[in-house]
Symmetry: C2
Subunit: 209 residues, 2 copies
């Protein structure tokens, strides 16, 4: 599996499948047909089979997928059979919203350190009791807390500088909310979140409807 | 064009191409090769040609794409040759962060009305001077302001109720940040934003690296 190039879209869909499977577990469904799972995820059943085929044999012909089993397997594929530690920089509205987000901890992501450049904020405690630290303490605190993923919620102008600090602190994955492209060295993966791409999708549908 | 089924992924990629083209315009580049544009967008050149082929003939063989022209055409395809009016419900941290987001207005999305259920917030003015309105005024204010897209930043438990109100107010597109699946009638398009899907991508890369 480590030697095969898996399309990025497959990984994104696995994540979406896992959300649907969690919903099915909440509903108490032990088994799901590939047709039903496909409907829930907005894809076609062949796509699900193709995505899963990269990783082995899943499901039973004529039955479908065992919900808990498939969720367990997908979480293992995605590396979600452990908890991930997050460090976050930029405790403005967005940063605070992310830390309070209902789903993160449920999905296995725990914030372990928070930073801001504003001297007025440094030393304050967040709603969960975590202190806001100075950015100068980032390398040390990332090491001490075992942070693995860096989250950037700063203005665009300083996002690259923060990314550089994360890289210095041996962070290998960055989730960037700042509206700018970040350059990272090979070995550090950056995912950009751009809300307006979703709005463009809506605009297209409203226009072509 | 209106009769052909365009893959959702194509629309998302067009949006990503437009961001890259905007970057190229800022750099002063008049022309871009499909190879370079593909690199900037993390796809292969054949994908760009395939996506654009749904909508006509673009680019010049041996030259590439004229940056401004292609951006103009993509914006027209996406329906971004006009400004879109947004109504937002839930003025917590996330709602306030979205209203202040640098990119939305630049991309042609303008917030025209804001709502919250909290009596302590209703009547307060946001940083941009816009008042926070009661949710009971949603249908009337959506009509009066000409809101076209509804943005939901409420807790999961009330998201469906807010979606229903948007639908009653003839809103045809909903951007949902609440961590729950929303049901909307045919004719109303819902886009869900789930940050944790991006985190799953990072987790996968950190695990399989």
């Amino acid at each position: 599996m480590k030697f095969m190039k898996i399309p990025a879209a497959t990984i994104t869909r696995l994540s979406i499948y896992s959300r649907a499977l969690e919903g099915l577990i909440n509903e108490g469904a032990p088994v799901v047909s590939s047709k039903r799972l496909a409907e829930l995820c907005g894809v076609n059943p062949a796509q699900i089979r193709k995505d899963l085929a990269y990783f082995g044999q899943f499901g039973v012909r004529g039955v479908g997928y065992y919900v808990k089993e498939l969720l367990f397997d997908i979480k293992k594929i995605l590396g979600l059979n452990k908890e991930w530690s997050l460090a976050i920089v930029g405790m403005g509205n967005l940063g605070c919203a992310l830390m309070a987000h209902e789903n993160f901890l449920k999905q296995g992501y725990r914030f372990v350190a928070a930073f801001d450049a504003d001297p007025m904020k440094i030393g304050l405690k967040l709603a969960n009791g975590m202190p806001i630290n100075a950015v100068s303490d980032l390398p040390r605190l990332c090491r001490e807390t075992g942070a693995e993923i860096g989250v950037i919620c700063t203005p665009a102008a300083v996002a690259q500088e923060i990314a550089n600090r994360f890289v210095e602190a041996a962070i290998k994955g960055i989730l960037n909310f700042a509206p700018t492209q970040i350059q990272a060295p090979k070995g550090c993966k950056v995912e950009n979140v751009d809300f307006s791409v979703k709005l463009d999708n809506l605009a297209y549908h409203l226009t072509s409807a």
